[in-house]
Amino acid sequence: MTEPQTQNGALVQIESLKKYFPIRKGVLSREVARVHAVDDVTLSVAEGETMGLVGESGCGKSTLGRCVVRLLEPTAGDVVFDGKSIGHLRARTLRPLRREMQMIFQDPYASLNPRKRVGTIISDPMRIHGIGDRKERKQRVEELLQVVGLSPEHYNRFPHEFSGGQRQRIGVARALALRPKLIVADEPVSALDVSIQAQMVNLLEDLQDEFRLTYVFIAHDLGVVRHVSDRIAVMYLGKLVELSPAEELYTRPIMPYTEALLSAVPVPDPDLAEKRERIVLEGDVPSPINPPSGCRFHPRCRYATEICSEVEPPLVDYGNGHLAACHHPLNVDKETLARVQASPAHTPEAADATALPEEPGKEVSKPVPRRD
């Protein structure tokens, strides 16, 4: 696995990405409002890295994941994949690139076509991309079935003959069929039982080592995310609010939202559960149609002051690749705080340490005009 800090080996670069969904009303379908699903997120994922994406439902993590593999077209901003700008490519030009990026979905019951046999499900991507002949494809499917811990005899079975965990393995085999570089896994284990969840997590980790895969791992389970991720991005209402090396996020959360999220996870240890102080956040996540002013978390934050409702905090680098957007950062010593506040780079773009130095050899394709 690559070192998380590696700056030059970015496979995916998300640049000021915005995705708004219009809400239309009336006979003329006029746009009356917009859901700010992802609102100006800049993030990069290094080759071989696992980037965990966490947050509550509605925070935009799935939308971001879908923009990365271009199942959705961003409203503004761009995604640079392996040096190529793909944010606004047309379907036809995008198609060859689809081989390189695949997705694993949450629901193993809904993501497999019930009328197709397992062999067809897994070989279809290869057929579509014109890889191999029938015999070669069959051989490859049988290999893949073995790789994900199923048996080659399952080739002719239908999805309903499998349990949830096995189906999810079929989904993984399908994602691997084209030997992708990037896999976006959207809640790949949350529909599974705990004992099966562990099998799946271990499988995904083994596959990463074997095939040098890069993962974007979207999940709401902070335990699972910590286990698989090299770095973790925390999202709240469409904003990236904290980005940190995995272990550090758990020992030293900077953003109060992260702190609250961590403390809400129940600990399977009765004594510890009694002793620890639990921060229970009031209320629900506000509507992404009219997000709160300033820091979007301020209505639920116990440290919030006046400035929080007025000024949106920039994403600031606190060293060691740990970034957070907060006016009242936690777990930061005075020196770092002074240095950060004195720094002229107090804007989101400049402070984003993940922005990679441009490689002279690689030319980024022409910027595509933004649509708004």
């Binding site: 705990v194 562990a198 709401h220 910590r226 809400a264 129940p266 399977p268 639990r278 956040l281």
Partner: protein
């Protein structure tokens, strides 16, 4: 001693299907005392939900066969005629379901649905029932309840709907509250709110709670006693501390080991229980966990009974391994050290 509210003896539930007889619950015994929270833990298909639904007669059907007894106030709920059971259901024993999105009726207001629960069981006027509905919504933490009582379910968020469900369940001051995965569909932050609410209500209303979940973290936070179920039977039963600090059954070890934990250093690999749970139509011979158990030996071809094998009273398990072996073997299974109580 606390008052015993519910006693389940030798409960078996079988469903006759086209494929064969499904032994969903196969011999479950437990007792429930006032003011206590009993956690039932297990994977899908372990029979935990069927057990809970059977207590309320929700599994009654022409293809269902019951055995054993469910004693509540000296009457056997399994044999109670449907008309009598309706008086108990929702009134003395209430249930909260997993999915707050589908368990409320979308065409009635939240208030109407709570009012209906009250007027079904009590002689209360509509306006009196409505006043109580508002009060209940306030107690479960719905902001601005006088207004929100007239909202439809779709105007509530997931967490609020679950609160409304809890308000409805509490509307008749039930003795027993059965919560079937009440927080599974919710975000962790909302889960924390709901768990805190359940805990507070247990104290305020002095009811007993049966909490069904697959999340050991949740039971560690709120339960007093725990049942671990596998393939329709209890494999281990004991106090919360006994179960977490001195677990006796390899399945319990497996469950504990497979959770990625935030309170411990990250292990190289997660412990996983190999294989999948058995089909409830063709159960394996002997110990039901044997095919997946890494520590199985000859004796496991005979099924061990659920009994007390350790010094602590009230801690029962179904495993043939000697105490010595268990202490030794579980260390490797449960990541980090298992503290001995």
């Amino acid at each position: 001693m606390a008052e015993k509210l519910l006693e389940v003896n030798g409960l078996k539930v079988r469903f006759t299907t086209e494929d064969g007889v499904v032994r969903a619950v196969d011999g479950v015994d437990f007792e429930l005392e006032r003011g206590k929270v009993l956690g039932i833990v297990g994977e899908s298909g372990s029979g935990k939900s069927v057990t809970a639904m059977t207590l309320l007669g929700l599994t009654r059907d022409k293809n269902t066969r019951f055995e054993g007894e469910v004693l509540y106030r000296d009457q056997d709920l399994l044999k109670l005629p449907e008309s009598r059971l309706r008086e108990v259901r929702g009134n003395e024993i209430a249930m909260i379901f997993q999915d707050p999105m589908t368990s409320l009726n979308p065409v009635y207001t939240v208030g109407d649905q709570i009012v209906e629960a009250i007027t079904t069981h009590e002689q209360a006027s509509k306006s009196e029932a409505k006043r109580r509905a508002v009060e209940l919504l306030r107690q479960v933490g719905i902001p601005n309840p006088q207004v929100r009582v007239d909202d439809y379910p779709h105007q509530f968020s997931g967490g609020m709907r679950q609160r409304a469900m809890i308000a409805m369940a509490l509307s008749c001051n039930p003795d027993v509250l059965i919560a079937d995965e009440p927080t599974t569909a919710l975000d962790v932050t909302i889960q924390a709110q709901i768990l805190e609410l359940l805990d507070r209500l247990r104290a305020d209303f002095d009811s007993a709670v049966i909490l069904i979940t697959h999340d050991l973290g949740v039971v560690a936070e709120v339960a007093d006693d725990i049942l671990v179920m596998y393939a329709g039977r209890i494999v281990e039963r004991g106090g919360k501390r006994q179960l977490f600090y001195d677990p006796q059954h390899p399945y319990t070890w497996g469950l504990l080991g497979s959770i990625p934990r935030l309170d411990r250093p990250k292990p190289e690999k997660l412990h996983s229980i190999e294989g999948t749970p058995p089909s409830l139509i063709n159960l394996p011979e002997g110990c039901k966990f044997r095919p997946r158990c890494p520590h199985a030996f000859e004796k496991c071809s005979e099924e061990p009974e659920l009994k007390n094998r350790v010094e602590a009273p009230g801690h029962l398990d179904r495993c043939w391994l000697s105490l010595e072996d268990k202490r030794h073997l579980r260390e490797s299974t449960i990541a980090g050290e298992a503290r001995v109580a």
